[in-house]
């Protein structure tokens, strides 16, 4: 029983960076911008956060540094995609490749550092409840931030005027411009804000999850977060649940590895990636369903008219 509680807890903890990154990507995509740079952004944020933590010993500062680094790169991305109208696929990929190289380069000096594990405080009082205590209430604050973020995003997109406007821009930037809204700036804001969240997720991995630096340590979470946005049909609550499920799969394979299950360890390590493929296949099967839910202008460049 206790084991199950621990599994749930670790699934949630492991899924949190995926959830926060996916929520950031949902903000990007709801505005119509496809951000293929998520992996590179998370890597850069991870090293920025880690380096800050090493020098300042302040976890909150480190997380902010990661968010900031990613937001900065996203400002550059926004300039290229929105004003210079470069190809969204190529530019996003360029960002991922650049981020990968940059993080490896900067990270060289930090491979031997270890931040040491922080004691997890969880929610006082609630963390002592039987089963639910260890399962849900003994997490790092950022985990709860993730849940609150999902709730806030849902309210934002479907009840607030700014969220409505963002969705409108994502559906038809031409119509939004006809109404007099500064579409390019709105998209830029969405890219940067979403980017900050993606960075936060990346920093969480290197500062909280595994307080070490290893080149390429994000190991595809940026890409998985992209798959999650489609899986969640761009709805924040579904993205959160999907992220936790993924976290569960990742934790399950570690669990099985630890149990000495007689399956090749490489197959277990490949499990999250195979699951992502499975999820993509399941969700994409019905193109009409996707088209009905997808922000209509996603991936298409916006020409503000001569």
């Amino acid at each position: 029983m206790n084991e199950l509680a621990l599994l749930i807890a670790s699934a949630i903890a492991s899924g949190t960076p995926l959830a926060i990154a996916a929520l950031g990507l949902i903000i990007n995509e709801r505005a119509g911008v496809l951000n293929l740079g998520s992996e590179g952004l998370m890597l850069v944020a991870a090293i920025a956060g880690f380096a800050t933590a090493v020098h300042s010993h302040n976890q909150a500062l480190a997380l902010l540094a990661g968010a900031g680094a990613s937001a900065l790169l996203c400002a550059l991305l926004a300039g290229l995609l929105i004003w210079l109208q470069t190809n969204q696929y190529a530019t996003g990929l360029a960002l991922s490749l650049f981020g990968s190289g940059l993080s490896a380069f900067v990270g060289i000096g930090y491979t031997h550092e270890n931040l040491g594990a922080h004691p997890v405080t969880g929610l006082p009082g609630l963390s002592r409840l039987p089963f639910l205590g260890p399962a849900l209430f003994s997490q790092h604050p950022l985990v709860y931030f993730g849940m609150l973020l999902a709730a806030f995003s849902s309210w934002f997109f479907f009840r607030s005027k700014s969220g409505l406007l963002l969705r409108a821009v994502g559906e038809s930037p031409e119509a939004a411009q006809a109404l007099g809204y500064p579409v390019r700036w709105i998209r830029c804001a969405a890219v940067v804000a979403g980017g900050a969240l993606i960075g936060l997720a990346g920093a969480y991995v290197s500062v909280v999850s595994t307080p070490l630096w290893v080149e390429g340590m994000i190991a595809g979470k940026g890409w998985i977060a992209l798959a999650l946005t489609t899986f969640a049909t761009w709805r924040p609550a579904r993205a959160l649940l999907g992220a936790y499920l993924f976290g569960g799969v990742t934790m399950l394979q570690l669990h099985l590895q630890g149990r000495g299950v007689s399956v090749p360890v490489e197959l277990l390590t490949a499990l999250p990636y195979l699951s992502t493929i499975l999820v993509l296949v399941l969700i994409s099967r019905n193109p009409r369903f996707i088209a009905a839910n997808m922000p209509a202008s996603l991936g298409k460049p916006f020409h503000p008219g001569a």
């Binding site: 360029a94 981020g99 380069f105 493929i277 993509l280």
Partner: protein, 360 residues
């Protein structure tokens, strides 16, 4: 104040100049970076642009890097022109090396040299198989090929790890994750004495020639081009997007697989976890910088190889981590994408007044 306005026709001049301007921009940023790191920029430039070509041996090393980059990038440029985003070339490269190794490991010292052909063919097939997975999932289930091909890279890495840690591990290899060194009949013979360049180098110009003809002078190439530029026009004309998907993926998978086979049957000589060098990703940059054109890709693959070698030299001679190569490659692509804007658009100075917002 300034506005980007569309041109009536894409500018050919800008199209030719963009890669050069991008390179110049990258160089400036590079020099800046070296200065900031406290290294002599002139020495650094020497590492990147002179050392790789200064003698025959160096050119041989260059060719060993340029050939796989070129092969993969040729395939990727066909894919990208058709809007098929094959990002998993690294995985196809790995499967190529695995396929080649499977045949190579079956060799005995008496095996005929023709076995080498089998090795290379197995590599091509391995790469094609891996790419076919992506094609199938996109064709049948509309799954996004970017994410699927990418996830398959991670899976391929695990497969490789499994094989060299387990069934294919060299029993006399001190428990290192590697296979035996392949036997003579399955190794690609040396092309030029005094260098490591091997016969595999010849696949490069052959590939460029065949692909050029294919893209520019055949109907199939024309159909792919239309499909990439205007999918609705392609559908109107009756060009099958399904066949475009399979053709481009199998082609690039096969080329990446061939590159992988040449790598293990050539300079490396065995299968290890260190075989994948990231060429599958670097080739994406090579393809774009080369303008998705066979001749351009030839030039950009040489350029990128120089970056690789320069990076390695910077590590041994200047004490800079060789991952600096990755930074430059990324910068080059960003610069190119920025410069590319000016092919379809030009800058117009609109005076100092704020203009009224426009409505379609």
């Amino acid at each position: 104040m300034f506005k980007l306005v569309p041109r009536a026709e894409p500018s050919r001049l800008a199209s030719l100049l963009a890669p050069l301007v991008a390179l110049a921009l990258t160089l400036c940023l590079g020099v800046l970076l070296f200065v900031l790191l406290g290294k002599d920029p002139l020495r650094a430039l020497e590492m990147f642009f002179w050392e790789p070509i200064k003698n025959l041996r160096a050119v041989g090393e260059l060719s060993i890097k340029a050939t796989p980059l070129l092969l993969i990038a040729l395939g990727l440029s066909v894919c990208f022109r058709s809007n098929v985003w094959n990002i998993g070339a690294e995985g196809q490269f790995i499967l190529g090396s695995v396929g080649a190794s499977a045949v190579a490991l079956a060799a005995t010292p008496e095996s005929s040299p023709l076995l080498l052909a089998g090795v290379l063919l197995a590599g091509v097939l391995g790469g094609m198989l891996w790419a076919a997975l992506t094609a199938f999932l996109r064709d049948r289930f509309h799954a996004n090929e970017i994410l699927v091909s990418l996830m398959l890279v991670y899976v391929a890495e695990q497969l490789l790890s499994y094989l060299v840690h387990g069934p294919w591990k060299d029993p006399n290899g001190y428990n290192f994750p590697q296979t035996i060194t392949f036997l003579e009949p399955t190794r690609v013979p040396r092309l030029v004495a005094g260098t490591r360049a091997n016969w595999g180098l010849l696949t490069a110009p052959l590939g460029v020639l065949l692909l050029s003809v294919f893209l520019r002078r055949t109907h199939a190439g024309y159909k792919l081009e239309v499909g990439g530029l205007s999918p609705l026009a392609a559908r109107y004309a009756g060009f099958s997007s399904q066949s475009a998907l399979w053709t481009t993926l199998l082609l690039s998978g096969g080329l990446a697989g061939l590159a992988g086979a040449l790598e293990v049957a050539g300079p490396v000589g065995q299968l290890t976890t260190q075989v994948p060098l990231g060429y599958g990703f670097a080739a994406i940059i090579v393809a774009f910088v080369g303008r998705l054109d066979p001749v351009g890709v030839t030039l950009s693959s040489v350029l990128m190889s120089m970056f690789y070698i320069g990076g390695e030299m910077s590590q041994s001679r200047l004490g800079l981590p060789k991952s600096i190569t990755g930074v430059f490659q990324g910068l080059l692509l960003f610069s190119l994408l920025t410069c590319d804007t000016f092919v379809e658009r030009r800058l117009r100075f609109t005076g100092f007044r704020r203009s009224a917002p426009r409505v379609p």
